[in-house]
Every structure is written in C-alpha cells, then in structure tokens.
C-alpha cells in the first residue's frame, strides 16, 4: 500500500512522475506552436492576393520582381516582407484584434484615435508643434495682396470633435486646445481686417441640445453640423439662411469613415449619412462644374449617390476632393462666394449654394495651375471664405502656397 516505503515503490513513483512530464498534453504547447505557424504559412499560400485594400485605401505590394539585381541589392527581401504582411491571412481580423487588445491593456484607443463612449472614434488632439500659425500667416499675406485686399474675407474653422463632444472622451485623454488656438487666431485676423466666424459656442450649445454635429466614425462634421455652421456664417454677414424646412432630409446607413478605418475598432456601429436635398433645385437653376487640371465636367446635381455604395460615403457631397469646383444657382440672392477649403466644405457647399448665385471652391492640395489671386481678379467675388477643420489646418502644408 505504502508504495514509497521501499526502493521499488520509489522508482515506481519516479516513473509515474516522468510519465506526467512526457505525456502527450505536456507537448501541447509545441503542437499549438507548430500547428499555428504551419497553418498560417499554408493559408498564406492559398490566400487570394488582392491588388488593393479598401480599408487602408492603398495599393498592396505585389510579388517582387525576381531579377538578379533586385535580389542582390536586398530590394527583393524588403519588398517580400511588405508583400507577406500585406497579404497576410485575415489581415483585418488581426488589426482589429490588436486594437481591442490595446484597450484591454489599458490604452484609451489605437493609432492616435480615442475609443470613446457611444461608439465615437475621435482623433487625438493635434500636437503642439503644428502648422496653425504658418497657415494663418499665409491667409493674412494673401489678404494683403493688391488683387485681394478690397474683397471682404471671413475665416471659419470647424472646432475639434474632441473639444465639442468632450463628454464622450475616455477619462485619460490629452487636452483639446481649441480655447487656446481660436482666440489667438481671432486676434491675428482682426488686426488684418479679416473676420473670424467662431463656431465654438454655437457648436457647444447645439451639441448640448442634442444635435449630432460630428460623425462617430469619421473626422468630418455631419450634415447637421455643416448646416449649423452655415447658419452661423450667414448671421455673421447678415444674410438670411435657407430654412431647414426647405430640405428633404434623406438618411443612408452603413457609413464607415476615416477614424473607423485607421483605428481598427471594427465592432463600432456605422454612421448614418444625411443628404439634405432641396427638391426645388433642378437642372433649370442649378449646375456644377468640376475642373481637374485642364479638364472640366458638368453636372446638374450636387449629390453623387454612386458613392453611397462605398464604405466611405462622404464623397456623396460634390464628389469629394477636387482642385476647382464651381456651383451656380440662378435662384440664389447673393453674388459670388469664393471658398478656399478642405473637405469640411463638401457638406456645407450645398447650403452655401442656396445663398450665393456662384460658389467657387478651391482646394489648395490640388489646385496648382494658377494663383488664387488671379481667380479673384477674374471672378470678382463678393465674399471670400477660408474654411478648414482646425485639425486639418494644423497639419496642412499646402495652404502656405496661397497667393
């Protein structure tokens, strides 16, 4: 009974102990490891190799060229690593798993996007080292040009999402410094005869009253946000804005925006995107022209419903980013408005076109054919507007070329 009382029993015990160490389950870690690396390797071989990633919005690395030169220079090895990572099995699943794992590890987000309450994914505040001052100086210099100085100019900036929707932010987050930047910008501009349309209070109170002014999964303002900014802009110039009731509000679901695709929080619910369509606008009174380089195309609607088929539905408004866009509305009251803008203007442009006979939108990122002052001389606008999101203005390096 007491089998460890004699030496034989002792050996028996040792053998049993060794069995335990060498039993099949003891090798399970090795089995899991080998199984995993071989499964992924074989899966990679059979994984279809796509050309383009829609969630990353870029072309994927193709199998590198196997020339002698490519191999000896080491280029083959480097490109092969990119190729391997780009076509890795279940790539998006891994990215998402990593995003959620970082939340479990105590982080407040992933890839500089905060994971916030109510499914908001909000970009971190801009860094202290930013382009705001350079860009404001460029606007001031532009305003002082002879060709421009007699045309009234306004600057309007969309506040940071995190500044307006501060109640949804994670408890540990960096400070959004809109309250520092906006007054600084106001004082620089007012010294140079440029009026600044400060949206902070308007947005804060509208948000508190329950309006959704920003998308949860995208860095842009919603159509409601754009409309709020439009009414504030009109009141700053003493114009009566178009009433909300003239629009037929259409809702489209399934919008996954930029902060969604950068962060990898795939379980976030999509946004609705709203198109505020004034049905009284028809081809009789409304036209839109898009100029890209030397090519110009005509349209009779400001809404491009084909983009609603894509994940990123924001280009439904005026077909997204273009160098030079012109909207004419013969039914509007005011004259010509020239907007120097980023993508925040896309959703506000249809509203501006309710008030101005001609709205010209220039995107400094793509407009390289002539100086904007030459456009001002030719088109003689009644009003100039510089319209950016504060985050974009902080990172933009093209506005400094404004002349």
């Amino acid at each position: 009974m007491t089998h460890y009382a004699n030496s034989k029993g002792g050996r028996h015990y040792a053998a049993e102990y060794r069995d335990n160490e060498n039993s099949v389950p003891a090798y399970l870690p090795a089995l899991i490891f080998v199984g995993f690396i071989f499964t992924m390797a074989i899966w990679f071989l059979f994984n279809p190799k796509l050309d383009y990633s829609s969630s990353e919005k870029r072309n994927l690395q193709q199998f590198p060229e196997t020339s002698v030169n490519n191999i000896t220079s080491g280029k083959f090895g480097k490109e092969f690593e990119t190729y391997f990572a780009d076509h890795f099995p279940a790539r998006n699943m891994w990215v998402g798993a990593n995003a959620y794992a970082s939340l479990l590890e105590g982080n407040n987000g992933a890839k500089d996007v905060y994971n916030c309450k109510y499914g908001y994914l909000i970009n971190k505040p801009v860094s202290k080292d930013n382009e705001i001052k350079n860009n404001i100086d460029a606007i001031v210099d532009f305003k002082n040009l002879d060709a421009v100085k007699n045309t009234p100019m306004s600057v309007m900036l969309a506040p940071s999402t995190g500044y307006v929707c501060d109640d949804v932010l994670p408890s540990i987050h960096n400070e959004y410094k809109d309250d520092k930047y906006f007054p600084e910008i106001t004082s620089t501009l007012s010294q140079n005869g440029i009026s600044f349309v400060d949206l902070r209070d308007t947005f804060k109170s509208a948000y508190k009253a329950g309006s959704q002014l920003y998308y949860r999964t995208d860095h842009h303002w919603t159509t409601r946000g754009a409309y709020t900014a439009y009414t504030r802009f009109c009141s700053s110039l003493g114009i009566t804005p178009a009433k909300e009731s003239v629009f037929n509000i259409e809702h489209y679901g399934g919008f996954y925006g930029t902060t969604y695709s950068t962060s990898g929080f795939w379980l976030t619910q999509p946004d609705d995107i709203e198109v505020w369509n004034n049905k009284s606008n028809t081809a009789d009174n409304l036209h839109m022209k898009i100029t890209e380089g030397t090519e110009t195309k005509d349209y009779d609607s400001m809404f491009f419903y084909n983009h609603l088929e894509e994940d990123d539905k924001y280009p439904v408004f005026i077909d997204g980013n273009h160098a030079y866009t012109e909207i004419t509305n013969t039914k509007a009251e005011k004259g010509t408005l020239l907007v120097i803008k980023d993508s925040f203007s896309h959703s506000i442009a249809p509203f501006l076109a309710e008030s101005y006979k001609k709205v010209i939108l220039i995107d400094m990122r793509y407009f390289k054919t002539e100086n904007v002052s030459a456009v001002v001389q030719r088109e003689k606008p009644d009003q100039l507007l510089v319209l950016y999101g504060i985050d974009n203005l902080a990172n933009d390096t093209d506005l400094v070329w404004l002349q």
Binding site: A30, A41, K78, F84, A101, G106
Partner: protein, 466 residues
C-alpha cells in the same frame, strides 16, 4: 531578418523546421549552413560573401594553430594574424566613420566620409570566431575538422545577429553530436514564446513611450518625473528587447537540438553594479573576462594593474556597444563604478538595508541608460539637467496621460523584471494540469504578437546594428 517579423515566424521558420526534420541527421548541419546564409543575407545579400570569407579564414586560422601546436612561435603567429584580421574587419566596418570624424577634428585634415554601413551581427560573430581560434590555441576546444560544421556554428541563425555570444567550446560537442527530442523542442517553444512576448508585447510598447517622449519635436517639457518616466520606459525597453531576443535565440536553439547558456538573469533585481554586470548580457561579460581581462593579468599583478585592466575592459565594452564616444563614456562610467565598489563602496553597501541597495543600483542603471540612449551630447546634457531640475514642472499633462494609459503594461514589465513569475512557475510546474496553463500562455502570446506584428509596421530592433 529578425525573429519578431511575420516573414520569419510564418515563412522562414516553418520551412526551416520542416526541412531540418526531414533531412537525415548527417545532412542537418549542411542544411543549417545553407539556411543560415539565407537568414543572414536576407536584407543585404552581398554580406553573405563577407560571412563566407570570415568562416574561411577563421577555419584556416584554427587549422594552422592546431597544426603547429608543437611550435609555440608559429602557433602564436597564426593566432595573432587571425585575430588581427578579425578585429581589422570589425574596425573597418564599424569604426571607420568614428575614426575619420575624430581625425577630421584636426584643422588640416579633411578625410571624406566613406559611409560604410554596418553588417548586421558583426560585433557578435566576430567575438564568436575569436573565441574559436583562442580556445583552439589554448587547447580549451578541439579544432573543427569540418568546414561546414564550423560555418554552421559561426552563422547559426538563432544567435547570429544579437547573441548570445556562444563560445565555441560550449557547443563544439553539440555541433557533432546532438539528439533533438520532443521534450527539448517543447521547452524551446515555451522559451521562444516568452521571448516573443517580451519583445513584441512589452519592449515595442515601451519603445512607443520613449519615442513619444524623446524623439518627438515641439512637445512641452515633460517635467522632472516625466523625464525619469521616459528613462524608466527605455530601461524596460532595452531589457525586454535584448533579453527577449536572447530568449528567442535559446528557444530556437532548443527547437534545433542545441543548448545555449543563459544570457540574462534578472539584472534589475541586483543589489550592486557588480551584481548587475553578472546578470546583464552574461555572454559578453564572460567573453571580456576570458579573452581580455584574464590575459591582461586580471587581478594577479597588483591593485594598480588591476584598475588599469578594468578600465581597458570597460572602455572596450563601451566601444563594442557602438561607434560613438557616448558609448565609451558609458563603459568607463561602469568601469569606474565597479572599481569604486570593489575597493571602497562594498563595505558600506553591504551594511545598507537591501531596499537602499536596490535603489542605489537602479539609480545608477537608469543614469547609465541615459548615457547610452542619447548619442548626441547636447541632448544628453539637456536630459540629465531635466532629471535633476524642478523648474520645468513635475510632470506634464500629456506625459501623465501617457503614463496612466500604459500603467498596466508598466506593471507587467515591472513584475516580469523579477524572478516572481519563474518562482510561481517552478512551484507549480509539476501540478497535473500545468500543461493547460502553458498551452494557454503559448497560444495567447502567439495570438497577441501576431496581431501586433500585423498591425504595426513599427518594429525597431535595438540591437540590430550592433
């Protein structure tokens, strides 16, 4: 190629393991020889020729030393020639830039910069080859009869680019006779996963903190605690990066039937700097002790000579870590401290409560990593002044946020720097269902590391260019 990459884990490693275990035992070294060169030449294929040249002349050097083992003069001549060639290659590739920069400080000189890029792992494998010829010379190891076996040893991919520095005598026997077993393979998998987790899940995260604090321009001053936090993050980063890499090397070695000696032994729990260097990068300290300190006379020629010997060894240790003066300062800083401890401080230190001994050691280690991290002298002084200066505040808001949002990882890093985990494991490893915990651990590390590797192109490897 580095271990913590998708290509290594899911292409190179499965192919290598598959063929290695299909090939009959006799052919395994030949296969390893070939696959090592693929690993080494992956990023810069022309380096394969440098490696082959190294293998060839050291093989011949060892053969000549052995051939003339009766003729003391010739034996010494061949040893010296081989070592000069080894050190010469290292010097040309690693220190040319530093030497020309220094000479150019002279007003009448203007040597053009040659921009020689450092071959990966050269500092490690140069020391390995030198250990071979010296061991053969001293009769501490048998001469390698087979060119393939010797080449396989020198370029063995697990320890090729970041150590441990395996002395030939420690593996001479394994090169010829080794029996791969499933138990050893399993052990290797577990150690490899510990290393992978250290590198990908802890060191990389710490790297993000260091980068945010010290490599981002135009941020507000971090404050005194904020700067210490940054240095602490780097202290964790370099340990988990380097020891993680050594663990992966040992684990891969086990998977192929090798046993390498331990390279790190919880250095941050040391109670003195002397102890720290017995626990940090053990294979390097051993190498310097065996092949520099003792041949110089060690402590056998009086105190004065011993101090000089220690300073030589530590100046060289610093220089080995990088071709810049801050590394020499860093080495001498440790050399002086070790001398001070040996002759003066030890008596006092031993009487201190152990908490204070730990505080003292960690303080020195953190200062040491500050010297190590900032290769630019101006940045170094700026950082050192921030570390002892309350005028820039205690800790900035953004730095505090960075600290708080990484607190769980920092706590894990702190615990993983101590033997606590190993103690708990050893206590329970014979429990019947331990394999459940082990398997879950391996699976979790693999899953999270793969997710992290797919996610982040951010994967700097600190010891890659040493």
């Amino acid at each position: 190629m580095v271990f913590s990459s998708l290509v290594f884990l899911f292409a190179y490693l499965p192919i290598t393991l598959l063929i290695y275990y299909i090939v009959p035992r006799k052919g395994r070294n030949l296969f390893l020889f070939f696959i090592n060169l693929v690993f080494y030449g992956w990023g810069e294929p022309m380096l394969v020729f440098l490696m082959l040249f190294n293998v060839l002349f050291n093989y011949i050097g060892g053969w000549l030393v052995d051939k003339y083992r009766q003729d003391a003069k010739k034996k010494k001549l061949f040893l010296v020639l081989t070592c000069i060639l080894d050190i010469g290659i290292l010097a040309v590739f690693k220190y040319t830039g530093m030497i020309t920069d220094t000479l150019n400080m002279l007003p009448f000189l203007n040597i053009p910069n040659l921009h020689i890029s450092l071959p990966i792992g050269i500092s490690f494998y140069t020391f390995q080859t030198m250990s071979y010829v010296i061991d053969v010379y001293r009769d501490d190891a048998p001469v390698s009869k087979s060119f393939i076996n010797f080449g396989t040893y020198l370029a063995l991919f697990p320890q090729l680019i970041a150590g441990p520095i395996v002395r030939y005598r420690d593996v001479a026997d394994q090169m010829i006779n080794r029996r791969e077993t499933l138990a050893q393979f399993t052990k290797g998998v577990k150690i490899f996963c510990i290393g992978l987790g250290k590198k990908v899940l802890i060191a990389n995260q710490m790297g993000i903190i260091t980068k945010a604090l010290f490599e981002t321009t135009g941020v507000e001053p971090h404050g005194i605690l904020g700067t210490w936090f940054g240095i602490a993050a780097y202290t964790f980063q370099i340990y988990f990066d380097f020891s993680g890499y050594s663990d992966m090397a040992c684990g891969l070695g086990n998977m192929l039937g090798f046993e390498f000696l331990k390279n790190f032994n919880y250095p941050y729990i040391s109670k003195s700097i002397t102890e720290f260097w017995r626990r940090w990068h053990i294979s390097l300290s051993t190498w310097f002790k065996e092949y520099v300190y003792i041949p110089l006379g060690g402590n056998r020629k009086g105190v004065k000579r011993q101090i000089i010997n220690l300073l030589i060894v530590w100046g060289l240790t610093g220089l080995w870590h990088g071709a810049a003066y801050n590394f020499i300062f860093w080495g001498l800083f440790y050399g002086l401290l070790l001398i001070l401890e040996k002759f003066v401080l030890k008596k006092f230190l031993d009487k201190l409560p152990s908490v204070l001994q730990h505080v003292y050691t960690l303080f020195i280690v953190l200062i040491g990593w500050t010297l190590f991290y900032f290769t630019d002298v101006n940045q170094l002084f700026a950082a050192l002044s921030d570390m002892f200066n309350f005028s820039k505040g205690i800790i900035s808001d953004n730095t505090l946020n960075l600290f708080l949002s990484n607190l769980p990882v920092l706590i894990v890093a702190g615990i993983a720097s101590t033997p606590l985990g190993a103690c708990v494991y050893n206590r329970f490893k014979h429990v019947k269902f331990m394999w459940v915990a082990e398997t879950l651990f391996v699976a979790a590390v693999l899953f999270l590391s793969t997710a992290s590797l797919v996610d982040q192109s951010y994967n700097p490897f600190l010891y890659f260019r040493f």
